[in-house]
Symmetry: C2
Subunit: 396 residues, 2 copies
């Protein structure tokens, strides 16, 4: 049940916790507290074998590897049975605070990381009410709280080779469905029919959609606005561009790809070719500089500038995001420096072992081109995990 | 998909929003803001047709009924298509703050309710990072923020008749499985076999468990500790007490019932009878005073005092909780005044149209008796939605 919800597989857990401890070391964090409860569970609880708990519960991971769970006494057995924590402390009517205080004052950590984040939802699992409780419980230490953002990124976004393999398989499945779907994209069919056919193929392969089924895939016919919308009810006509945004979840790992089609017997119009070419060149411009250490905004800027220079409007989103056990995974954003919208997400540096989407949009008059592909950052650059679309696909 | 995740059915939505507005009126709240984003979605987002959104998104419901959504511009179409909001404002690189500020300064609300709560997880969906953003965005109004706890309770816990009907059906299904399960509870069977048989019956009836499958049901043989644990690997022997804690989800509504059995041919030992009798009397003592207006702790105290007076240890949990679209639904708690553990949950008054479990535990030497039943609070008292267990069930 924990794995079904996208939590880390048991066989990967210890390896990933090593990555977590390395990050704690690098950031000088002595103790990481995930503080969760029923009704609004911390999104990292599943990974930490700390989900489905009723009362206020603290998962404490220390820099030296020690793991302690503080939970309502009726649930200590349950947490113990999951085998993750070296020590499980059950509390009664006194609540969670005394055991928390005792543990922290015994260890005297200089920096305590908690799951609060301005920019990253999945790293912001400490709710406002729980934060107040925790600050009051650990009053003497509240000034040493820091954001566990980078630790959460280590856990979610930095993939071990076994995870990369599963993600690559997810991409293969997605590409397989794309290939089968081509016969549906033809004059007379509606965007809804294409969407529904994709859903049927997902089911046939016993997969699940990578995001909400109602807009997975998103099917845009002609100049339909690129939006997180499944379909508008448009019929495909000869001469239409069609763009799909689609991904599947395979053993918990998500793919996310876009393909652009031209429907009709005749030659592809020059303006479509031009938009497609700009989109291809934008992807390539970003990929040329993608490597560990570069801030995400610079990768975005390479594509953004090219598109504007070629006379197309600036796209109003980010070039790409991390891909992993969720489609929009937390991590560095390959996105613009728009602090009001993206905060400091684009300032973070690209790191090895992270998979990114590359998806700048080129809004042509006949429709939007977006050749979204998925790439893994390696020690010196990147590796393509998906086939990159280099020509517009002409369908009849 | 939204309904699958336990969100409110479309046909109930407008009626429930009336209950919400009544509560806003009663509490003098002019504006209710649910502020959510991807990765750590507010648990109320589904009910408010506001789920699966990527960027910071505000669902603003006003006392006069006006509903406004402020979302990333790429998702305005999606939110519009859900038909819930009268106005959908899409933002671009400027982020969510300007539109929020504009709306609030136009309306000048005296009290703004936000989803923060010390005691109730599902009413605490405003994350710590999002709270800081919202307070900064609405600086001039941050001092008028109050907890939306009671509004969330209105939405989740106060049931309209159509919901009560579904919940009653959920209870019928659960009782049906209990009846079929009796043939599994006999000497030689293990707690795990009983657990697995229940899971198979859930599947056969195309239901889902009311809580995490690994401990739904929880099967306790003999003096096994009452805990949120599925099973320990015990074999049922003649002379054992067996206790199950079990519930199903039917069309989104949860049941939660316990039954106590005695396995073996001979007469039920006196000490088992004594514990069972105390448990029955404890339930009845609580039910006698259950009615709108009484604080939850008083209902709990009636059962608690009786159990202690009859010589059994005080139970270390609450007498009962709200039942609804989740098993531990938010609302008044029929629980003790243990502020460190339960905060002020037990101080809240019982209200009409809320379903409660009644489940005081009597720890006898041969095992724990808990005759959990589900009751609906009515204008003058309560109505039993489940069959109450009045005799120990002898099997084998």
């Amino acid at each position: 049940m924990r794995e079904g919800s996208g939590a880390l597989k048991q066989e990967f857990l210890e390896k990933k916790l090593k990555v977590v401890r390395k990050t704690m070391d690098k950031r000088g964090v002595d103790m990481w507290i995930t503080f969760s409860r029923e009704g609004n569970e911390d999104p990292l609880a599943g990974d930490l074998r700390f989900d489905h708990l009723t009362w206020r519960s603290a998962a404490v991971i220390e820099r030296d590897g020690e793991r302690t769970a503080i939970v309502g006494s009726l649930e200590s057995e349950l947490v113990r049975s999951r085998g993750m924590y070296h020590k499980v402390i059950g509390y009664g009517r006194e609540g969670a605070a005394p055991a928390l205080r005792e543990l922290v004052s015994k260890r005297r950590p200089k920096r305590i990381a908690v799951n609060t984040s301005r920019d990253l939802g999945a790293a912001d699992g400490l709710s406002s009410g729980m934060e107040r409780y925790l600050r009051a419980a650990l009053k003497a230490y509240a000034k040493s709280f820091v954001s566990a953002e980078d630790i959460a990124i280590a856990l979610r976004a930095k993939l071990i080779p076994e995870e990369v393999e599963l993600l690559a398989k997810s991409i293969r499945e997605c590409e397989g469905i794309y290939d089968e779907l081509e016969q549906e994209i033809r004059p007379g069919r509606t965007d809804k029919q294409v969407h529904d056919a994709a859903q049927a193929l997902i089911e046939e392969r016993r997969l699940t959609p990578a995001w909400a089924a109602d807009h997975c895939p998103s099917v845009a016919v002609g100049a339909a606005p690129a939006a997180h919308l499944g379909y508008r009810g448009d019929e495909i006509e000869r001469g239409n561009m069609v763009k799909l945004d689609f991904g599947v979840r395979y053993e918990g790992y998500c793919s996310d790809l876009q393909r652009v089609y031209y429907v009709g017997g005749g030659a592809v119009p020059a303006e479509v070719k031009k938009a497609f070419g700009a989109a291809r060149r934008a992807n390539d411009a970003a990929l040329t500089i993608l490597r560990p250490g570069i801030p995400g905004w610079r990768v975005d800027a390479a594509a953004r500038q090219l598109i504007v220079k070629e006379g197309f409007p600036e796209y109003m989103h980010a070039l790409g995001h991390v891909l992993g056990r969720s489609t929009h995974e937390i991590g560095p954003l390959l996105g613009p420096r728009w602090p009001n919208r993206y905060g400091k997400q684009g300032e973070k540096e690209v790191e090895e072992d992270i998979v990114f989407t590359i998806e700048p949009s080129v809004e042509g008059r006949a429709g939007t081109c977006n050749l979204e592909q998925d790439v893994l950052v390696t020690a010196n650059g990147y590796r393509e995990l998906s086939k990159s679309q280099r020509e517009i696909i002409v369908l009849g």
